[in-house]
C-alpha cells in the first residue's frame, strides 16, 4: 500500500497528489495528443464527442455533484450556447468573440434560472428547471429570426484567427484544449473557498450560513458557472453537430446528461469524464454489436453445429435493431448503476485501485454500505 509522505501544506493544495500521480496524468495527456495520429477519422470524431460531453459533464457535476442543486433542464443551456454561438458566427463575429458572447448569454440565463433556487430545494428546483427547459425549447422553435425555428440552422465551420479548424483532427485538438482548460479552472475553484462553500451548501445549508457562506451568492455562482461551461460546450456542440434544430435540446437530452454524471460517479471530476466516455461511446458500440453479435453467433453455430446459437444471435440482433432500444439500454444501465454501484464508474475504479494496492489484505467490508433507513429530506 502506497503512502504519500507529506512534508508541506502545499502538497495538500496542489492539483496532483505527488510526482507519481502527475506522471500518470502526463502520460494520459500524451496519449490524448497522439491519438488522432493512430486511429481512424471516425474514432477521432467519436472521441471529440467524448470531450464535448465531458465539458457538459463537468458543468452538471459542479451544480449537482458538488453543490447539490438538481437541474432537469440543462439541455436548455446547451441549446442557448449553441444557438447564440451559431447566430453570432453567421453575423460575422470573430470566433473567439462569438464563443465569449455565447458564454456570457448562457451565464446570464443561468443566473436567472438560479434565482428561484434561492428559495426552493430538491424536487421543486428540479421541476422549475424542467419547466424552464420546456419553455426555452419552445422559444427555440418560435424565435425564427434568430434560430430559424423548425427549419433548422446550419453552423459554419470554426475559423479562429484565420486558421480553419474544420478538419476532424484540428477540431479534436480544439475540443481537447477546451476540456483541459475547463478541468483546470474547475479544479482551481474546487480546491479554493468557493468549492468548499459549494460542498457545504450541499451537505448542510444552515451550518454553511453559520460559517459565513452567503447562500444566495454561492448558489447563484454555482448556476452561473455551470451555465457558463454549458455555453462553451454549446458552442463546440454546435460545430460538431453542424446543423441545429429545436428538437435536439429536449428533456431527454437533459436526462442523458444527468445519466452521464451518475454513471460516471457523482462528486468527482473524474466522474464527469468517465460518464462522458460512457454516454458518447455507447451508441456506436450498440451499432457495432447490432451487426457483430448475429455474425459471431452464426460463426459459433456453424462451428459447433448447434443452430441454437444462430437463433440467439439473430434474436439479439433483431432486438438491437428495434427503434428506441438505445434509450432502454441507457435506462437499464442507469438502474443497474444506482442499484449496484451508486458511486458510479469512478467509484468502481477507486475500489479496483484500492484492491490492487492493498492486496492481499483487501476487505470487501471496506466499502460495505450500512443498512440505512430513510430520513425525511423535506426538512433540510
Amino acid at each position: 500500500m502506497r503512502f504519500v509522505f507529506k512534508t508541506s501544506y502545499a502538497q495538500d493544495i496542489q492539483i496532483f497528489r505527488d510526482r507519481r500521480d502527475a506522471f500518470w496524468y502526463l502520460l494520459l495527456a500524451v496519449v490524448a495528443v497522439l491519438l488522432p495520429v493512430v486511429i481512424s477519422d471516425y474514432y477521432v470524431g467519436e472521441t471529440t464527442w467524448v470531450f464535448v460531453y465531458a465539458i457538459c459533464g463537468v458543468s452538471l457535476m459542479v451544480l449537482v455533484g458538488y453543490t447539490g442543486l438538481v437541474s432537469l433542464g440543462h439541455a436548455a443551456f446547451l441549446g442557448i450556447g449553441a444557438y447564440a454561438h451559431a447566430f453570432f458566427l453567421k453575423h460575422g463575429v470573430p470566433w473567439v468573440a462569438a464563443v465569449a458572447l455565447a458564454v456570457a448569454i448562457t451565464t446570464a440565463c443561468g443566473i436567472v434560472v438560479g434565482l428561484p433556487a434561492l428559495r426552493m430545494t430538491g424536487i421543486y428546483l428540479a421541476i422549475a428547471t424542467l419547466a424552464f427547459s420546456v419553455i426555452i425549447q419552445e422559444v427555440f422553435s418560435r424565435w425564427e429570426s434568430v434560430t430559424h425555428g423548425f427549419a433548422g440552422m446550419a453552423v459554419e465551420k470554426p475559423v479562429i484567427f484565420g486558421i480553419s479548424f474544420a478538419d476532424d483532427r484540428a477540431f479534436y485538438y480544439l475540443c481537447l484544449f477546451f476540456l483541459v482548460l475547463t478541468l483546470w479552472l474547475t479544479r482551481n475553484l474546487l480546491r479554493a473557498p468557493t468549492g468548499r462553500a459549494w460542498v457545504a451548501i450541499r451537505d448542510s445549508e444552515i451550518a454553511a450560513q453559520s460559517m459565513g457562506v452567503n447562500l444566495a451568492i454561492y448558489k447563484s455562482m454555482a448556476f452561473a458557472y455551470s451555465a457558463a461551461l454549458m455555453g462553451l460546450a454549446g458552442a463546440l456542440f454546435a460545430h460538431k453537430i453542424a446543423y441545429l434544430a429545436p428538437d435536439i435540446f429536449t428533456i431527454l437530452l437533459s436526462i442523458q446528461l444527468l445519466l452521464l454524471v451518475i454513471v460516471g460517479g457523482l462528486g468527482s471530476l473524474h466522474g464527469a469524464v468517465f460518464g462522458a466516455i460512457f454516454v458518447a461511446l455507447l451508441p456506436p458500440v450498440i451499432a457495432i454489436l447490432r451487426d457483430s453479435i448475429p455474425a459471431s453467433f452464426a460463426d459459433v453455430a456453424s462451428a459447433t453445429g448447434l443452430s441454437l446459437f444462430g437463433a440467439i444471435g439473430e434474436a439479439v440482433g433483431n432486438f438491437l435493431r428495434k427503434p428506441g432500444v438505445e434509450a432502454g439500454i441507457f435506462g437499464l444501465i442507469l438502474v443497474l448503476v444506482i442499484l449496484l454501484e451508486p458511486l458510479g464508474m469512478y467509484g468502481r475504479w477507486m475500489k479496483i485501485r484500492i484492491f490492487f494496492s492493498t492486496f492481499p489484505m483487501y476487505k470487501r467490508a471496506t466499502f460495505k454500505r450500512q443498512k440505512t433507513y430513510m430520513r425525511s429530506e423535506r426538512l433540510r
Binding site: Y9, A10, D12, I13, L185, N188, L189, R191, A192, P193, T194, R196, A197, V199, A200, R202, D203, S204, I206, A207, A208, Q209, S210, M211, G212, V213, N214, L215, M221, G267
Partner: protein, 252 residues
C-alpha cells in the same frame, strides 16, 4: 456596557411563545450557561442569536452593535460562532475540509483569483491551513484529518463541531449541549477544553447544558429557563439551589 446582551428577547411559533421576554448579559471572557428542561427554549435562543430565526420582539446587542436584523451569514464575520445540538457537519467532506470551510468568513480572495488560483490564493490557503492546524492540535484531532465525517464516531464528531466553531476565530462561542452523548471521560475532556478556551484563547462562551457537574465546574454565571421564561439568574450555586429551579428542573 456588556460584551453581549439579550434584551427582552421573544419569539412565537404560531401562537406558542417559545421564548418570552428573556434578558441576560454576558461579560467578556466569562462562561455563561443556560439551563432548563427540554423544550424550555434554550436552543431557540441560540438560533435567534445566530439569526436563523427572526425574533418577534426584543434586541440583541454584541459589542455595542445591534445585531437583531443582521443576515445569518454575516454573524460569523462579526465574531460569533456556534455548534449545533444535532451535529450539522458536512458529512461527505473530510474533517480538514470542514475546518477549512470555517475560515470562509476570513477569506480574501474573489471568484476570478480563485478561478486562476493566483499565488495570493495559494498564500491564503496555506495561512488558513496553519490556523486550522493549531485548532487540530488543541483538540487532538490529528489522526482524523483526512477521514470523511460519515466514517467518524459520535464523540469525534462532537469535538469536530467544536473545532469547526473555533476555526472561525470567534470572540463569542455558542456551545449547544457540548456534552450530550459523551461518556464521562469525554465530558471531562470537554470541561478542560472549555476552560482552556476561556483562559488561554480569551473567547467568551455562551453555553446550553444539561450536565450539572459540567455546569458547576466551568460556568461563571447561569440562567435557568422554563417554558421560554427566565426563572433565575446568578452564580451556579445560587441558581441550582433556587427553589423554583429545583421544582421545575432538578426534580426537588
Amino acid at each position: 456596557m456588556s460584551f453581549f446582551q439579550a434584551d427582552q428577547l421573544s419569539i412565537n411559533f404560531g401562537g406558542i411563545k417559545a421564548v418570552d421576554g428573556v434578558s441576560f448579559d454576558v461579560e467578556k471572557g466569562t462562561v455563561f450557561t443556560i439551563i432548563g428542561p427540554n423544550g424550555a427554549g434554550k436552543t431557540t435562543i441560540f438560533n435567534l442569536v445566530s439569526r436563523i430565526y427572526e425574533p418577534s420582539g426584543g434586541r440583541l446587542v454584541f459589542e455595542g452593535t445591534d445585531i437583531t436584523r443582521v443576515p445569518p451569514h454575516r454573524i460569523a464575520a462579526l465574531g460569533i460562532a456556534r455548534t449545533f445540538q444535532n451535529i450539522e457537519l458536512f458529512e461527505h467532506a473530510t474533517l480538514l475540509q470542514n475546518l477549512l470551510l470555517a475560515r470562509h468568513a476570513h477569506k480574501q480572495s474573489n471568484f476570478i483569483s480563485e478561478l486562476l488560483f493566483l499565488p495570493s490564493v495559494r498564500r491564503m490557503e496555506v495561512e488558513h491551513r496553519e490556523m486550522v492546524e493549531k485548532v487540530i492540535d488543541f483538540l487532538d484531532l490529528q489522526q482524523y484529518r483526512d477521514s470523511l465525517i460519515v466514517n467518524l464516531p459520535y464523540g469525534v464528531r462532537k469535538v469536530t463541531e467544536l473545532a469547526r466553531a473555533l476555526c472561525t476565530d470567534p470572540k463569542l462561542l455558542l456551545l449547544d449541549e457540548p456534552s450530550s452523548g459523551l461518556n464521562v471521560e469525554e465530558t471531562e475532556d470537554m470541561a478542560f477544553w472549555i476552560q482552556d478556551i476561556k483562559n488561554l484563547l480569551g473567547i467568551t462562551v455562551l453555553m446550553v447544558e444539561h450536565d450539572m457537574k459540567l455546569v458547576s465546574a466551568v460556568s461563571d454565571r447561569v440562567l435557568a429557563l422554563n417554558y421560554g421564561r427566565p426563572l433565575a439568574q446568578g452564580s451556579p450555586q445560587e441558581v441550582q439551589s433556587h427553589p423554583e429551579v429545583v421544582r421545575a428542573y432538578l426534580g426537588g
